[in-house]
Amino acid sequence: MAAVARPDYVKFRREADGGLVYDHENYGYEDASMYEVSDTVIDVLEFVDDQPRSREAVEREFSPAIVETLISRGVLADVE
């Protein structure tokens, strides 16, 4: 069954207004990437949590388009 997961190098946290996503995939000293994101992105990341989650379940909870967008931006990854 297809599943999605948050890569180890992606971290996130909720803020008063939306949240932050931190990505150190191409990491160098102080060269990680950080994005301001909407509440929805944080909702998805909290839903997926630390373990792979069925892609179908995430799409049902949110939408296929949101899941696809987050995968294309590297916030989520397809896993077997």
Binding site: D8, K11, R13, Y22, G28, Y29, E30, A32
Partner: protein, 319 residues
């Protein structure tokens, strides 16, 4: 960013000690042999601080000093940080990296090393001490075979700017990246500001060289303009001191950044007040930080009569 202050910094710099086996002429923290403070965080206090960093969801911790590895408990603290999956970056002078240390560092993830090299042999050793260059090259050779993300860090000065092409090649030959840091008037840099700071001509050459070497890392407001004063990287324009990042000194006092460690900008202590309280207070200090174009720390530290970053002004207006 949102107008709301962040609940926690994205990244912090933690100077874990003012002790160092070297005594560099431009040291931003004024560190050196025997310079340890009597009230530097104990191992237990440091562990408690790390637990609070984790609780606050701080993404990244940059470890500096002094030389971090002169702290006997440094490896233990790095293990604590990485066990909590906090991205950890260690700035080291490269002289304390024996094989046993590297074995333990290699086992940690996510952890990255930044090794200082401030010129080729003549210029590096003039600033950092006789024989240091050879020790750093030796460390880079041994790091080359290790699975440890490594960058060579160069504080660019009037004396070493011409060495950059060869430093770049040397770093590349050892599988390391090159990162440039701006020389700032803090610590012993206040005393050597006029001696080491770049001339306007050198600034313009440097910005052109960086344009030609996009893989050279900068991450600094000084480098967000090109030689013609045009913005080359918008993401670097905003100074994050006190809004996205801060500095924790060896005694646990909190400041906006490593280059603004002045008493009137202190905002609490991680042991006495807790880091969350100190961070929450730092938003008030942000109003005291000069928000002129460029680096507020340089503007304040260089005592510029107009309260501006004079080197950025040179790029922007040719003054």
């Amino acid at each position: 960013m949102s107008s709301e202050p962040l609940s926690a910094p994205v990244t912090i710099t933690w100077e874990v000690t003012l002790g160092c086996n070297l005594h560099c002429d431009h040291c931003l923290s004024g560190s050196g042999p025997g310079h340890q403070l009597p009230n530097e965080l104990t191992t237990e206090q440091a562990h408690q601080f790390i637990a609070e960093l984790d609780e606050m969801d701080v993404f990244q911790v940059n470890i500096g000093g002094g030389e971090p590895f002169v702290r006997p408990d440094m490896l233990e603290l790095l293990e604590e940080l990485t066990d909590r999956n906090i991205s950890t970056c260690v700035s080291t002078n490269g002289t304390q990296l024996d094989e046993e240390t590297l074995d333990r560092v290699e086992a940690m993830d996510p952890l990255f090393l930044q090794v200082s090299m401030d010129g080729l042999q003549a210029e590096n050793d003039a600033i950092r001490g006789e024989g240091v260059y050879e020790q750093v090259v030796d460390a880079l050779e041994r790091l080359e075979d290790r699975d440890i993300g490594t960058t060579v860090n160069t504080v660019v000065t009037r004396q070493n700017v011409d060495d950059l092409p060869e430093i770049y090649e040397l770093a590349e030959a050892h599988g390391a990246g090159l990162r440039l840091n701006r020389f700032r008037p803090s610590g012993r840099g206040e005393d050597t500001w006029d001696e080491f700071r770049l001339t306007e001509e050198q600034i313009r050459w440097l910005h052109g060289w960086i344009e030609d070497h996009p893989d050279v890392r900068t991450g600094d407001s000084f480098f967000y303009l090109n030689a013609l004063g045009e913005v080359r990287n918008n993401t670097l324009k905003q100074c994050g001191a006190g809004s996205m990042t801060c500095l924790v000194d060896p005694a646990g006092d909190v400041f906006p950044c490593a280059f603004t460690q002045w008493d009137h900008l202190a905002s609490g202590n991680v042991v006495e007040d807790g880091f969350q309280t100190a961070w929450d207070e730092i938003a008030n200090l942000r109003n005291q930080i000069d928000d002129h174009e460029g680096c507020p720390a340089v503007a304040m530290g260089s005592s510029d009569p107009d309260g501006e970053d004079p080197q950025l002004r040179a790029i922007l207006s040719g003054d």
